[in-house]
């Protein structure tokens, strides 16, 4: 384990953590506010990537501009999602789940049929390599990390610093009470959907440039989001950050020591052990006895 490897892995941890959290935050938001298991999150992420692709590569719009446009477009999915897929089954866990499955199946299949070459990728958002002593890191990853971090700060401010954010928390903690308070639950939910879709779109575009696109690129997103939410403590936004760092660290360091899929198995094993000891994750809410 040389210095280069260590520093590289630490940078990698931060990078992965920011990406994972970016992905999981929207997912967790929808869960804690609407108690919805948002299985279509990965598909929206995938759509984000492909929309940005068709804007920047196919139509040849400037990539940064098309990133902004993508986010704008995908955010519009939010209210639609809430009105047609979630509201009809208000607080009905399994039906929202199944609607999500149906939708994502249809979208994924459509994407597959429209693709005749799996290898597609956005151009890198930044080129060149930053060299600092033993460490060298590509500007692309730096930029990705910075955008991610910035967005996270923004979202946290939105949730903890603004009236609407406080209303969100209220709805998440006690639905009946907040209804009595006259909070418009549907408006809050729609907003949450918008945020979730927006974050997914950003992540989709950034990672679509970093790792390439594919109709099934959303699957790992859903899994990572789930792991972060479960590990961080369901219903706790703060826990997700810790979980993100932990999982990012595991994913960045384990492959250096353990070869092959044993690494991923060990990673998941660690999470299972944590859960068996703390079924509610790091910051899980107190529930029952």
């Amino acid at each position: 384990m040389t210095l280069t490897l260590t520093v590289g892995a630490i940078i990698n941890t931060l990078f992965l953590a920011s990406m994972y959290i970016l992905i999981a935050l929207g997912f967790a938001l929808l869960f804690s506010i609407m108690e919805i298991l948002h299985v279509a999150h990965g598909v929206i992420y995938m759509l984000g990537g492909y929309i940005c692709y068709s804007l920047s590569v196919t139509l040849g719009i400037n990539q940064w501009l098309s990133l902004v446009l993508t986010v704008a477009i995908v955010c519009c999915f939010g209210p639609v999602l809430e009105k047609f897929f979630f509201r009809p089954f208000f607080r009905d866990f399994d039906r929202t789940l199944l609607v999500g499955i149906g939708i994502s199946t249809i979208i994924e299949t459509t994407m597959v049929l429209s693709k005749s070459n799996e290898a597609q990728s956005l151009r890198a958002f930044a080129t060149g390599i930053l060299k600092m002593g033993p460490v060298s890191v590509s500007n692309e990853r730096l930029v990705t990390f910075l955008i991610g971090a910035l967005l996270l700060v923004a979202v946290i401010w939105l949730i903890h610093g603004t009236k609407i954010g406080l209303q969100m928390q209220a709805v998440g903690q006690d639905l009946e009470a907040s209804l009595l308070q006259g909070i418009n639950i549907h408006r809050i939910s729609a907003l949450a959907c918008v945020i979730a879709c927006g974050l997914a779109a950003v992540a989709g575009s950034l990672l679509g440039a970093y790792m390439g696109l594919g109709p099934f690129m959303g699957d790992f997103v859903f899994q990572k989001a789930l792991v972060l939410v479960v590990l961080g403590g369901i219903g706790s936004i703060g826990g997700i950050f810790l979980a993100g760092l932990v999982v990012g660290g595991i994913d960045a360091f384990l492959p250096l020591f353990i070869s092959g899929s044993a690494a991923s198995a060990l990673a998941i094993g660690i999470v299972i052990v944590v859960l068996l000891l703390r079924p509610r994750g790091f910051f899980g809410r107190e529930m029952g006895f």
């Binding site: 005749s116 070459n117 290898a119 990728s121 890198a124 044993a262």
Partner: protein, 403 residues
């Protein structure tokens, strides 16, 4: 909670969709004609492998169409046409078994081509039990894929080992200075079985393996740890025996990011253009065994195949010539054996030499590698990106041998 009106419109929409599907279904199913050889085709049309699967379907249709347009094949004076019967193997082992059941018991096919990639073992038990000749388009050397216990299987296209042998020949010819390689590969089930074979092949050609193999989980999303592990290994070049562009691209990117500028030998058929798409500026000094349209020395049938395929498929479509090559080779084998009966074909198989493949003259080999002489050996093309990232044709590797 929907009102009655909404329900009505909703049901109307449903009815429309349903009708649409059944019309489509009747179009999609075709009827059989006399004097046809029914060839079942196992491709993953749904599931995670469905994008390559759909490409392969189009390719195989092209190959069959080519054979038929040339008047089919003549066996004992009788003319025969190829009729493809594709079935979806759902990109899973279970799907494969289900599809094989359908092909054998319901579609009543005479031969089976496929499945692709690592579902080979799944189709073996039923095919063997029913004495059904099964022509594979790829072989990753997992047990039960191709060995003494699968006498009814023919490997029509090089698998991991075929590609590796060919690529080593390429290295000896074009990069004699490469004396040691660091090996990277996806950690699929085949590693423990190919490892000794590849080690042997390299060492017979005076190339040593630096350190241990660098393996990564199939579902890995961020390859930088792998890249840094590779960069830490002292070797003249990187060797990637069996992979797909979605693996090669990111690894290459990571390596170049770390300032590692060694040659990357990739024993696969994904074109360099794909790798370039995925690795961006990092895509330099990488070799692949993909064909280059219009390159010198391309056999006419390959040129025709590529032309026909691009004519029928979308802009920027990818080429994976595996099951399609099998679809093309099967009729040639039948013609060479002059029989449609499994036993005759198997008897004739070892003696076959110099029959036509998409890649030029082919013969049978592979008794040392697979323990059974059922592997079609044929020339392979090569292409590479130079240190500026410009794509170049690497010449034909004509002396490929699968011992």
């Amino acid at each position: 909670m929907q009102s009655k009106r909404r329900l009505h419109s909703f049901w109307f929409a449903v009815a429309v969709v349903a009708v649409a599907f059944f019309v489509f279904g009747s179009v999609a199913s075709q009827a059989a004609e006399p004097k046809k050889i029914r060839v079942g085709l196992l491709v993953g049309l749904t599931g995670w492998f469905s994008v390559p699967g759909n490409i392969e379907l189009a390719e195989c249709r092209t190959a069959a169409e080519m054979v038929n347009d040339r008047g089919g094949i003549t066996i004992k004076g009788g003319k025969y046409m190829i009729e493809l019967v594709p079935e979806d193997m759902k990109s899973t082992n279970e799907g494969t078994t289900a599809a094989v059941n359908k092909l054998i018991y319901d579609d009543k096919v005479q031969f089976i081509v496929g499945p692709s990639a690592f579902w080979g073992p799944a189709s073996a038990p039923l095919c063997e039990a029913n004495k059904m000749i099964n022509v594979l388009g790829y072989c990753a050397n997992t047990p039960g894929e191709l060995d003494k216990n699968t006498p009814h299987r023919i490997l029509a296209e090089d698998g991991t080992m075929g590609h590796t042998y060919a690529l080593i020949k390429f290295i000896k010819k074009n990069h004699p200075d490469v004396k040691s390689v660091a090996i990277v590969n996806a950690d699929d089930g085949s590693i423990p079985y190919v490892k000794p074979l590849i080690a042997k092949a390299l060492q017979e050609n005076g190339i040593s393996v630096a350190g241990d193999w660098v393996l990564f989980a199939n579902e890995m999303v961020d390859f930088s740890p792998i890249a840094s592990k590779l960069a830490a290994l002292k070797a003249d070049a990187i060797f990637h025996p069996n992979g797909i562009d979605r693996h090669v691209g990111p690894i290459l990117k990571g390596l170049r990011e770390l300032g590692d500028n060694r040659w990357y030998f990739y024993a696969g058929v994904s074109p360099c253009s794909n790798i370039k798409t995925l690795a961006g500026a990092g895509a330099t000094k990488v070799v692949s065994l993909a064909p280059t349209p219009g390159a010198p020395g391309n056999p006419p049938q390959l040129e025709e195949f590529i032309k026909r395929y691009f004519a029928r498929s979308k802009q920027g479509a990818a080429l994976i010539i595996q099951n399609s090559s099998a679809t093309y080779v099967l009729p040639q084998i039948l013609q060479a054996a002059q029989s449609l009966d499994a036993n005759d074909i198997l008897k004739a198989l070892p003696r076959m030499s110099n029959f036509e493949t998409l890649w030029g003259p082919g013969h049978m080999g592979g008794e040392r590698t697979y323990g059974i002489k059922h592997a079609v050996v044929h020339p392979l093309p090569s292409q590479y990106l130079d240190d500026k990232g410009v794509q170049k044709f690497g010449g034909w590797i004509t002396d490929v041998e699968v011992p």
